[in-house]
């Protein structure tokens, strides 16, 4: 594989090949330029980096463990190493991004942050960072999602954030993102948009990648320490793609390490009810960047479907689009059913309840294990990014497996 020097991307205007860039109202350009400048100066500032690392280490519980999942490995016929991002404070990799961006907001002198959220995980993480750093926090959440995820709405409010249900469009994550952008166009002077994934207009894909990039740096060092060699493959789930780019990035130059991104296949890509932007979508422009997205023949966004709220988004970060086109990473869909089977498998073999998002990565690892074994003629080693814990999904999973009353009848709070 002859990929060019990947880590130097994006270019100065935020392009990963033909992807990325800035497709935004002019009103936001100044704020994006300021953010870009603030980010570059923060990146080079040892004091900022020390503060960020200190919060990660002493507040968020990072670096997360790399755990050899022995019983799961036996079942799958591959050595499975789990990057335990589920053990971080707030229960997912997202805390890395929100702490980085909240520190940036402070540095820029912006007292208010806004965020979009689907299932509520990024909203909760944002509210957490805002409470810690004394920032006002407003979270936009589709009305449909506020109903599905009432518990997370309560969490955000407990942490002092204002949650605004978004009632227009499809009332889900993409509409929450639209509404956050509309807020930002109006309030950009005193507000930082704390974007939740490695997508959106430049410099967000780059700075989010860098804030979560520690996942891969740590995993790479941990696997070398553990095995004395690099893994055969790295697997992650891909919605917007922040946890995947976070673990991929450090491995991109390692040509022998295969990178696999598993998209939410929903009912199956062939049914049209899925959230697989790369494997089931086409190239276009959405939410400020050129990338793969789900769209109809007229370029209107198509609603995505996935059992996993965190993957239920019709676009994907531009760096993934580029990694796909260059062939450096391989993207495949995993259906709801496959993800839920992997969810159960991890619960029963390792005593770990994963986020349903992360269960997609596990299901993907189960799919590639026999292929790699055949190709390599030995037991392959696969690092799987266990991006989040499953507490938030207990209701959904309980209803899916029929071991709980349907979600609507569960009293919020009973199963936390």
């Amino acid at each position: 594989m002859t990929a060019p020097a990947l880590p130097s991307l994006p270019d100065l205007a935020g392009h990963f090949g033909r992807y990325g860039g800035r497709f935004v109202p002019e009103a936001l350009v100044k704020a994006l330029d300021e953010l870009d400048a603030a980010y570059r100066s923060a990146k080079a500032d040892p004091e900022f980096q020390a503060r960020f690392q200190d919060l990660l280490l002493n507040y968020a519980g990072v670096p997360s463990l790399l755990y050899r999942a022995t019983r799961l490995s036996e079942k799958l016929g591959a050595e499975i190493l789990l990057k335990r991002e589920d053990l971080n404070h707030t229960g997912a990799h997202k805390v890395r991004n929100v702490l980085g961006q909240a520190l940036l907001a402070k540095r820029m002198g912006k007292p208010r942050v806004i965020a979009e959220t689907g299932a509520g995980q990024h909203g909760v993480a944002s509210a957490t960072a805002a409470a810690l750093l004394d920032l006002e926090c407003v979270v936009y959440m589709g009305e449909m999602d506020t109903e599905r995820q009432a518990l997370n709405v309560a969490r955000m409010r407990m942490l002092g954030a204002t949650v605004i249900p978004v009632t227009n469009g499809s009332r889900t994550l993409k509409d929450a993102l639209n509404e956050a952008l509309r807020d930002w166009v109006t309030t950009v002077d005193n507000t930082h948009y704390l974007l939740g994934t490695a997508a959106g207009p430049h410099p967000f894909p780059e700075l989010v990648r860098d804030f979560v990039g520690g996942i891969g740096v740590e995993a790479r060092a941990q696997v070398l320490e553990m095995n004395g060699k690099l893994p055969d493959a790295v697997a992650a789930c891909v919605g917007g793609g922040s946890n995947a780019i976070g673990i991929f990035h450090a491995f991109v130059p390692d040509e022998g390490v295969r990178l696999y991104g598993f998209e939410a296949g929903g009912d199956g890509v062939e049914t049209g009810r899925h959230a697989a932007s790369i494997t089931g979508g086409s190239v276009g422009v959405l939410h400020g960047n050129r990338t793969y997205l789900l769209q109809d023949d007229d370029g209107q966004t198509i609603e995505s479907h996935s059992i996993s709220a965190g993957l239920d988004y019709p676009g994907v970060g531009p760096e993934h689009a580029w990694l796909h086109d260059t062939g450096r990473a391989v993207y495949e869909p995993v259906t709801d059913a496959e993800a839920m089977a992997a969810f159960t498998l991890l619960c029963r073999t390792e005593g770990i309840i994963p986020a349903i998002e992360s269960a997609h990565a596990l299901a993907g690892a189960a799919k590639i294990a026999p292929r790699l074994r055949e190709e390599l003629g030995r037991t392959p080693t696969i690092v799987v990014n266990l991006s989040g814990r499953g507490d938030k999904d207990v209701h959904t999973a309980g209803a899916y497996f029929g071991i709980l009353d349907p979600v609507e009848t569960v009293v919020p709070g009973e199963n936390t």
Binding site: A27, K30, A31, V188, Q295, G299
Partner: protein
């Protein structure tokens, strides 16, 4: 009539140009054609057709709702071209406003070609900045479509100069930091922005949009701008009317009031 001729003519008459906006296919294709022709006859110098889009981040609740209705009723990009054809054939000067993805999906060069043959004179691109517009600049030059990019109160002097240099026909000055929708008063940021644009280019025609909803506000904006752009207030005439006849009456009355406004600066 080309956009430049419309602005030149208004200058001779010592008045501002009235640009009236309506989403294509709202509430249906035929109804939207009728509305636009009525707006033209009642005094809108330019009809700004908005192509309905699923994710209109620059638009406030009124245009969002109208766009949703149009999309729910099945409007397609090709219908928008048909509407432009019908309205320009009725004698109106038509420009299109659209978010970028529908054009990218259609094919940039093909879209410019079909837009020109439908009779539109220009295109306003709320989420395409000149920095990302190389393909559009080439296609619009080739097919002689005027390009209108936006400038905002937050734009730096450098960006205003760069943006205006890439516009042809007129530049769209967003009067305030925010989304479309009528406001109770005209933004105080607008006159200053217009002054800053004139410093960059004394000759470019400047249309001011965002927040204008009645004749008095139109007159206020006409005092310092070459064009007054009105959208949500006109759309609301139809959106909130109890029946179609009332909606058209209100639309005609507001268009006439605004037309009077741009003449009383």
């Amino acid at each position: 009539m080309s956009i430049s001729s419309v602005f030149d003519k208004a200058k001779v008459e010592n008045r501002s140009v009235l640009v009236g906006c309506m989403p294509a296919g709202f509430p249906t294709v035929d109804d939207s054609i009728e509305q636009m022709i009525e707006m033209h006859r009642a005094g809108c110098d330019v009809i700004e057709v908005e192509l309905p889009y699923s994710d209109p981040v620059m638009d406030g609740p009124v245009i969002q709702k109208a766009s949703d209705i149009a999309l729910a009723n099945g409007v397609r990009t090709r219908d928008t071209l048909k509407i432009i054809d019908a309205v320009s054939s009725a004698g109106a000067t038509v420009v299109l406003m659209t978010y970028w993805n529908p054009i990218e999906k259609y094919g940039v060069d093909a879209f410019a070609r079909d837009l020109a043959s439908a009779g539109a004179t220009g295109l306003i691109t709320p989420d395409l900045i000149p920095d990302e517009a190389q393909e559009w600049i080439a296609a619009s030059d080739k097919h002689k479509i005027d390009r209108t990019f936006l400038v905002a109160p937050s734009s730096t002097a450098e960006r205003i100069a760069m943006t205006v240099a890439n516009c042809r026909g007129f530049v769209y000055a967003t009067a305030l930091m925010g989304v479309t929708g009528a406001r109770t008063s005209v933004s105080s940021q607008a006159p200053e922005l217009v002054t800053r644009i004139r410093e960059a280019d004394p000759d470019i025609a400047i249309g001011v949009g965002l927040g204008v909803g009645n004749g008095k506000q139109a007159a206020e904006v006409a005092a310092f701008a070459d064009g007054v752009i009105v959208g949500s207030a006109l759309i609301r005439c139809v959106l909130e009317a109890p029946d179609r006849a009332t909606g058209l009456d209100r639309l005609r009355a507001l268009s006439a009031e605004l037309a009077e406004g741009v003449r009383s600066r």
